[in-house]
């Protein structure tokens, strides 16, 4: 088995799911965001987003807190260190896989 394929096999399945990958990407880019913002950015329904966030929270990747800005209640989500590290590791593995696929494409063209 090539190293790239080995990397594929060890990808974090929790992050690899498209909806959760979108959520992780947005949360990686910002210090914190609320539920409505995530919903708009990721284009997910309320129920879908809730279930994915619950899984990420359960894994210790995301912290969810309920607070108020003025009188408006907010459900604020932020990435924990564990989640940040996991996302960076996922991205590193994807780079290895991408680079490897790029080489194979060049070879096949030749």
């Amino acid at each position: 088995m090539t190293p790239a394929l080995q990397e594929l096999a060890t990808l974090d399945r929790l992050i690899h799911e498209p909806a959760r990958l979108m959520i992780m990407t947005v949360l990686y880019a910002v210090p914190e965001a609320d539920f409505i913002y995530l919903q708009r950015e990721c284009g997910l329904t309320q129920g879908n987003l809730s279930s994915h966030l619950a899984k990420l929270e359960e894994a210790g990747y995301v912290m969810i807190t309920k607070t108020f800005k003025g009188k408006y209640p907010l459900t604020i989500c932020s990435l924990l260190k564990k989640g940040r590290d996991a996302f960076e590791e996922y991205a590193r593995k994807m780079r290895v896989v991408n680079n490897s696929f790029g080489v194979q494409e060049v070879r096949s063209e030749k």
């Binding site: 990407t25 910002v30 950015e41």
Partner: protein, 214 residues
Amino acid sequence: MSTQVTDSVLQAERRARSYWNIDGLPIIAQAVAVLLAGLWFLYMNYSGAWGRHQSELASLVCIVAVVLDMIRKPGAIAWLKAKITYPRTGYVARLEQKVQPEGRGVNFAALGFVCLLIGFWAVALSVETPWICVAAGIVTGLALWWNPVREKFAYLDILGIACVGMLAAVLLNATHSVFHLQRFAFTLTALGTLGLIKGIVTLLRYVQRNPVQS
């Protein structure tokens, strides 16, 4: 990081950064600050307080401090955002501007652009010639429509609007012999008024397009 993932993160970061201005509230706050400064200078001119050096210095320091404070600190805007923005399109923590080494070229471009505007502005405030109106019009057009760094440096728009104010001031000078300090007051007032209009239009469009989520 993988290139695609990095691109997605950068894109998300860019969207979050521009999200602060999506509702026009920061523009309104800045415009109100500048408008108040302009009106204050007009009052100083017409009340006769202007001319005593202590009051000139004190008022200048106060105005600059107030304007800088309103522009730098988002506290006043946050309260309005909690009422208007968060229920509609959600909340995201404000991202601080980062100075990246690869962005230095763009920074130099912005600096050059600012220097050009300030240069024309300074010249127009001191030189008495009708051609200054033409120069001011050209610089205003450049600033508003051909700003090469509009996305990263939105405040350059405000400088452009300042040029509109300057143009108005110079035109006023041609007809009513307004002296230089009054031009400054008119410039700030025009800048504040135009900024306020721009901010209110942005806010109205935002509210119209984004109804409150149930």
